[in-house]
């Protein structure tokens, strides 16, 4: 796969954000803030970091990418469509009867999803299972990436997996926490404080990297660094802005679980197409 420049990747991330807005408006329900905040991470993963083949989703030498916080799946669908897993127009079937694009991802319906998720806290455990299988099969060149939300760290299941990965030194696991500080009932630190998050993961035996999760180059660099870490699983705490790219959604937890209406979608897309005047979109 030919490497794309950071500028090209930024444009892809912007396109993915537009698709998220359009999909959610069309669906009439779904989560806005998380997927927008994750657009840069999913662009980095699908268009640089993860070894995969959209034409052969079950390619036996691929890396495994798990989405633990399944409610953020619109960003994955948009990235998959852009990567060529399915036609882009299928994005408009999100959450509709008979669609392969279920409100929360179902592996059996759409090739390339790797797992079924929605109920929180189980992705990291599945990543541990994948890494254990890779170890048994002696496949050290393959990686398992798992994207998690910060709110889902309230789940005990996460910390059971954290202990196991630390104990077994599952260095093929590269986990990314979308640290956007919001969950449904409000800011994470008022719902159930997570800090000091870095110390917590280090105490469980993880190598922790903290980055700006809305900086595609930083995401790629952190994953590459993760590949070099032996003897420890890697946790990337990616600080992101929920609703990133759409001014009236940014940092507002009310957008966690709501879609834009038609007027809001137009406003959001206009803003994305100029990205606050900072870059010019190919759609202009």
């Amino acid at each position: 796969m030919q490497k794309l420049s950071i500028e090209q990747l930024d444009l892809i991330a912007n396109e993915i954000r537009e698709d998220i807005i359009t999909m959610l408006e069309h669906a009439g329900s779904g989560h806005s803030a998380g997927p927008l905040g994750l657009a840069d991470i999913f662009t980095a993963l699908y268009f640089d970091v993860v070894k995969h083949d959209p034409k052969n989703p079950d390619w036996e030498d691929r890396d495994i990418l798990l989405l633990s916080n399944g409610h953020c799946v619109p960003v994955r669908y948009a990235a998959m469509a852009k990567a060529g897993y399915f036609p882009k127009k299928e994005l408009m079937t999100l959450r509709k009867l008979g669609s392969r694009l279920q409100g929360h991802p179902e592996r059996l319906r759409l090739p390339g999803l790797e797992s079924t998720s929605g109920p929180l806290g189980s992705g990291l455990s599945q990543a541990c299972g994948v890494a254990l299988a890779l170890r048994i099969d002696n496949q050290p060149h393959r990686w398992v990436y798992v994207v998690m939300g910060d709110g889902e760290l309230d789940e005990g299941n996460v910390w059971e997996a954290a202990m196991l990965a630390g104990k077994e030194k599952l260095h093929n696991v590269i986990a990314i926490i979308d640290r956007n500080n919001i969950q449904i009932d409000g800011p994470t630190e008022s719902v159930m404080p997570l800090e000091n998050l870095k110390d917590k993961w280090e105490a469980f035996g993880w190598h922790v990297i903290e980055i700006n999760g809305n900086d595609i180059e930083a995401v790629i660099d952190a994953c590459n660094m993760g590949h070099a870490i032996q003897e420890k699983p890697v946790m990337i705490i990616a600080h992101t802005i929920p609703g990133k790219g759409v001014d009236f959604m940014e940092n507002d937890f009310h957008w966690h679980g709501n879609p834009p209406n038609h007027e809001q979608a137009i406003k959001a897309i206009n803003e994305l197409r100029t990205l606050g005047g900072k870059i010019r979109s190919e759609h202009e």
């Binding site: 109920p119 455990s125 299972g129 005990g156 299941n157 059971e160």
Partner: protein, 324 residues
């Protein structure tokens, strides 16, 4: 007489815990297929996974006391083509981790093999917290899940080998204390197939797990009372062998079910649903009646909660009377 090979339950029978058969079966499954792996939640000896662990240490994972992690790690192993057997006590798995089983195994269609030991009153002295009585009901309602409760250690061994080849998620129910061995190496086993262990024309006794022995004993006693009972052993509670069961029920016109767990939602629930829809006849369900167990020996508990052969016999008489 039955078509299948079952021992005479009126004789003195050799006893062995059903979980021992699982341990032997898992070891053998591991030898036959290198993709068979195992994980346990700090109960490796109790669940008899220790045999497998000793032979294949690199294919065994100690999860610690973390049952949610146990089954979700199993889902991940399965995603990579492994055939994971994951074990704990039934009260904890599937007792504690039902949602993870639902989402990451059943909806995700990963053929993880969930093994719940210490199910039912045969857990004995440990008391109500550890006597899992709701596992059949919990697992039976999950789409894609296969539910198996062997009647003895020999059948448990065969069931384990069959599970290793089955492409669906499976739940295997095991008991702690030694129970009579009523089948032999020659007795057939097939997932989804119920077996007629004794033939009769007056009533159908349908039992699962450890209760099949007690149903056979009740049938002997009923014979002396002038009632010929057909005994069907339902090792696979889901998918239910409707053909075998309905064939018998249409012949006898009366049913008693017997299980060592909550009758509501369990085998009793499953049979009542089947019979009500296809062949409504008088039916009584022997099982726990919306209540918890307590400490005691298995024999004491079976008698106290009305699950022994004496109670099956009384229920059979009552149902036969209803036919008239």
């Amino acid at each position: 007489m039955s078509d299948v090979h079952v021992v005479d339950v009126t004789a003195e029978l050799e006893k062995e815990p059903i979980r021992k058969g699982f341990g032997r079966g898992l070891l053998e499954a591991g030898k036959r297929d290198e993709n068979v792996v195992a994980a346990c939640a700090d109960l490796t000896d109790s669940t008899q996974m220790s045999l497998f662990k000793a032979e294949f240490p690199a294919r065994f994972v100690e999860i610690g006391v973390a049952e949610q992690n146990l089954v979700t790690v199993g889902s991940g192993l399965s995603a990579m083509g492994k055939i994971p057997f994951v074990s704990s006590y039934a009260a904890f798995s599937p007792g504690r981790n039902w949602e993870q089983i639902r989402t990451t195994i059943c909806l995700n269609d990963r053929p993880v093999k969930i093994v719940g030991s210490h199910a039912g009153l045969y857990t004995g002295a440990d008391g109500a917290t550890h006597q899992m009585l709701e596992d059949i009901a919990l697992m039976r309602v999950l789409p894609n899940m296969v539910v198996i409760a062997p009647c003895d250690s020999i059948e448990a061994e065969k069931a384990t080998l069959a599970m290793a080849k089955d492409k669906r998620p499976n739940y295997l129910r095991l008991a702690r204390e030694a129970t009579p061995i009523i089948t032999t190496a020659e007795t057939p086993f097939e997932i989804g197939k119920a077996l007629v262990f004794a033939k009769g024309a007056d009533i159908t006794l349908i039992a699962t797990g450890t209760m099949t022995y007690h149903a056979l004993k009740a049938a002997e006693e009923l014979y002396k009372d002038g009632i010929e009972a057909e005994v069907i052993h339902v090792a696979t509670i889901k998918p239910l062998d409707a053909e075998t069961i309905l064939k018998s029920v249409r012949k006898t016109g009366a049913v008693v079910t017997a299980e060592e767990g909550q009758a509501a939602g369990g085998l009793g629930g499953a049979i009542a649903e089947l019979v009500a829809e296809h062949c409504p006849v008088p039916i009584k369900r022997i099982g726990m009646k919306d209540e918890f167990g307590e400490s005691g020996t298995p024999d004491e508990l079976l008698e106290k909660f009305g699950l022994d052969s004496k109670h099956i016999r009384l229920a059979a008489h009552a149902v036969v009377d209803l036919k008239k």
